[in-house]
Every structure is written in C-alpha cells, then in structure tokens.
Symmetry: C2
Subunit: 104 residues, 2 copies
C-alpha cells in the first residue's frame, strides 16, 4: 500500500517532488521541504491551477499582491493558474509534507 | 484559512460529504465517517476516476474482484471509473477523514 509518509528522510538537501498520479487532466504530487524556499528567485507562474494542502510541518506562501499565508497541517488553498506566488518559508526543524493537485 | 480538520463532530449519524473544490475537470471532497459503510447496498460504480487518501482514522475498501484493502493515515490509492467497490468498514471509535479527488 503506498503511503504518503513513506520514504521521508529527516534532512533534505533540496525540495523533493514525487509524482503520485498523472492523467490527462490532473497531476498529484507530494512535495517535501525542510527549510527550503522556492523558486530560488522570482515567482511561480504556473499554467495549471493548483489545490494544495499541508499534511505535516509548516510553510508560508507569499503572493505577488503581498498576501502572506501561513499553513499548518490541514490548511488548504486553491491557487489559480498564473497567480504569481512563492514558498517564502518552510520549517527548518521538520519535514513539511505538501499534497498538491494540479489541474487545468 | 480553511482547514480539513475543522468542523468535525466526534459522532456522526451518517457520512458527511463536503465539497472543497469543484471545477470543470475535477472535484475535491472531504468525507467523514465513524463506523459507517457505503453504499448501504451494492457497489459504487462511478463514472469519474477517484484518487483517495486517508488523513485520519482507518477504513477498508472491498472491490468486486474480492480485493480487500485496509487504509491507515497516509495510505492512498487510485480507483479507476467503473471499478465496483464499497467502503466495507470504517473505525467506529474515531472519525475517519478521507480526501477524495474525482477526475475524468
């Protein structure tokens, strides 16, 4: 049985993206971070919509309109395509597990 | 900030389905159960594919081909459209939180 909490190293040199499902219309990813921010410069500007939930740990998203959103386990939000944003902080003391659903 | 663990009663007279996202191509639902099985008779025969993960609690799915799958927190699986299945058990002692992504 695949489990989203399997194969998590306690320290990660960089963010780890794992594809959990890929179909014509959607893509489901697990993202692991420990202190990383992304992208390193600039903003994400995605052509897909993204619904994302934090399952473990803590993170912060910053949007180009200056909104800052802190996420703890269970918090979720929808990021429409081309909404400029970045991961401005993730907890350096634990692995943050994000579940992201990309769709068009 | 919406949180998937908010507004959970400790006892539920029946399963509770909440729509978290609905778009042209996908639908994301939270499903809560405490001991319920579903559907009451027969099988689910869905025209959409369903990717589902248990976030809290425990459940069991039974498939028409006799496969029985037990799920604990973090376990996930994909159920292709028209795969006959049912929720054959959920933990009666706690609320089980399912996150389901329906897509075509």
């Amino acid at each position: 049985m695949p489990n989203i909490y399997n194969n998590i190293l306690s320290q990660l040199p960089e963010e780890v993206f794992s594809n959990l499902l890929s179909s014509g219309s959607i893509r489901i990813e697990r993202i692991l971070s420990t202190g990383q921010t992304s992208p390193e410069t600039g903003w994400y500007d995605q052509h897909e919509h993204e619904w994302v939930i934090v399952l473990q740990g803590a993170g912060e998203l910053t949007f180009a309109n200056s909104d800052v959103i802190n996420l703890k386990p269970g918090d979720y939000l929808n990021i429409p395509a081309h909404t400029h944003h970045k991961v401005s902080w993730t907890d350096p003391m634990q692995v943050t597990v994000w579940l992201a659903v990309f769709y068009t």
